[in-house]
């Protein structure tokens, strides 16, 4: 197995072992999905907005929680030093950790989307499906967006000093949320998610993933080790 996948697998196992944070996130996901489904019951045309927005928020929320665990805690506890002495390159370690956080975060996002559709269908007593553009959103844009957020937060956690690191992660998290709210207000009239918005979000996410991947060239072991204390 490739080293990145070994790292990712370990991170996912650790996330699954930590029942409290998992239950906490699943609980949140169920709560927001039920609330969104209740909204859909009143205004069925809002199904697209709910499926567009809630899974993204839940995915990003879990990404924020899990990157804190995967990147921040490992740096704070200096476990990262031991990892950097293994025959795995820094970029592979970073990417493995990014995958280890992004995969469960995406799973939470999809879980939320399925819940919204399922509960809305039960409440409306008819099977409802989001529009094809929303299916594309869930299958392509959402994982890309989650990956972009995890990459960026993870990168900053490794790069910044321990004092700045928490602030940096929270700032990124807030910016992403702000952008999402901004996006929602742009969607505005008629609660329709246009192809343009979808493509813009997809391209922005892709660009962020590529940009962060490029920036990891500037990440060094020395930078990580000297910012631990």
């Amino acid at each position: 197995m490739r080293k990145e996948f070994i790292v990712a697998k370990k991170e996912i196992i650790e996330i699954l072992q930590n029942k409290s944070s998992l239950l906490f996130t699943v609980g949140y996901s169920v709560f927001f999905s039920v609330m969104a489904a209740l909204g859909v019951k009143k205004f069925p045309e809002t199904i697209d907005t709910a499926v567009f927005y809630i899974p993204l928020v839940m995915g990003i929320f879990f990404a924020y929680v899990s990157t804190g665990r995967i990147f921040f805690r490992e740096k704070r506890d200096k476990i990262i030093e031991t990892l950097l002495c293994t025959p795995v390159s820094l970029r592979k370690l970073w990417f493995g950790k990014v995958l280890g956080s992004a995969i469960p975060s995406y799973a939470i996002a999809i879980f939320s989307a399925i819940l919204i559709v399922l509960i809305s269908s039960i409440l409306l007593k008819s099977i409802i499906f989001p529009s094809p553009i929303l299916v594309l959103h869930l299958l392509v844009t959402t994982p890309l967006f989650v990956l972009a957020a995890v990459s960026l937060i993870g990168f900053l956690y490794l790069l910044a000093g321990m004092k700045e690191v928490r602030i940096a992660g929270t700032v990124i998290f807030m910016i992403i949320f702000g952008a999402l709210f901004g996006g929602l207000s742009l969607i505005g009239e008629g609660y329709r998610i246009s192809s343009l918005i979808e493509i813009a979000l997809m391209m922005t996410s892709l660009l962020l993933v590529v940009l962060t991947g490029y920036l990891t060239r500037y990440l060094s072991k020395e930078k990580i080790v000297t910012t631990i204390t």
Partner: protein
């Protein structure tokens, strides 16, 4: 064969020199102790050797390779740093399995079980590391460090913060590994530990290497022929002190009924006769050997 070569190593942080021209070599199969007070630069040296920091100038080579540049070369090295490098939410077995995968270890299950038996944690292999005592974690960290059968083991303060029993367990483990032919680089504060297990030591002070030699050679170099005489009472000790002073013997110290002084060993019988003829009853006369701690403190004070 030299397995670690450190040459003229200099490291500066924001213009402040932390290491100032360090050079030493470690031979294959040797247990090498790297000593120094807090802030002397021990961990910085270790980090440079391991490729975690880049030297400002000079070089650190392990088995002919620079560990910072060669991912594969790091397979020949095992490390136990300040942190154990263990995951609390994973079991002892899963922790070892993770590292075994990262090091491409074959026959993982068998190897992990053998190692867990070796460090005495086999019965607790399924328990999460979070519930382990510090001593158990240290032992597991050593197992983790040797999972891929490295040729060199770097240990940073392996018994720091452990109770005496756990310290002994860790020490015995290191001795056992050394017997198996592994080269061990031991970064330590614990002079007793170093004295017991190291073949050679280097003492670092404020970024400079003060000495680098075998423990026995250092003893010879730094030891003056100190003799201790134990008299029957304090009064006799005071009289003996007067006699020693009248004979021109220097560096005499009195502590209760014991006097220590620098004196040539071959003239001890002559001195003993003078003292007994003066009516002083002597209970014991012995040569005082300097401990590594004495030597270490002498070197550190000299530099200050």
């Amino acid at each position: 064969m030299k397995v670690i070569e450190v040459k003229n190593l200099v490291k500066e942080f924001n213009g402040r020199k932390v290491l100032d021209g360090i050079s030493f070599e470690v031979e294959e199969g040797e247990v090498f102790g790297y000593l120094g007070p807090n802030g002397a630069g021990k961990t910085t040296t270790l980090r440079i050797i391991l490729g975690l920091l880049n030297p400002t100038s000079g070089k650190a080579i392990v088995m002919g390779k620079n560990l910072a540049e060669d991912d594969e070369a790091r397979k020949k090295v095992g490390v136990v740093l300040e942190n154990d490098g263990l995951y609390e939410d994973l079991s002892a077995f899963d922790n070892l399995e993770y590292y075994a995968q990262l090091y491409d270890v074959s026959n993982r299950k068998e190897k992990i079980e053998d190692l867990l038996r070796f460090v005495g944690l086999y019965e607790r292999r399924r328990e999460k590391v979070g519930v382990f005592s510090k001593g158990m974690r240290r032992k597991l960290a050593i197992a983790r460090a040797i999972i891929h059968d490295p040729e060199i083991l770097f240990l940073d303060e392996p018994s720091a913060g452990l109770d005496p029993e756990a310290q002994r367990m860790v020490r015995n483990l290191i001795v056992e590994l050394s017997r198996k032919g592994r080269t061990i680089f031991l970064n330590s504060h614990d002079l007793d530990e170093v004295q017991r297990i190291c073949d050679r030591i280097a003492i670092l002070q404020r970024g400079r290497l003060m000495v680098c030699d075998a423990v026995e050679n250092l003893r010879k170099k730094f030891s003056k022929p100190v003799t201790a005489i134990s008299t029957t009472d304090e009064k006799s000790a005071k009289r003996a002190l007067e006699i020693l002073n009248s004979l021109g013997i220097s560096d005499c110290n009195i502590n209760g009924k014991i006097i220590t002084f620098v004196f040539r060993e071959d003239k001890q019988s002559h001195l003993l006769r003078i003292l007994t003829e003066s009516g002083i009853e002597i209970e014991e006369i012995r040569k005082v050997t300097k401990t590594l701690e004495d030597i270490y403190l002498e070197i550190i004070r000299r530099r200050k």
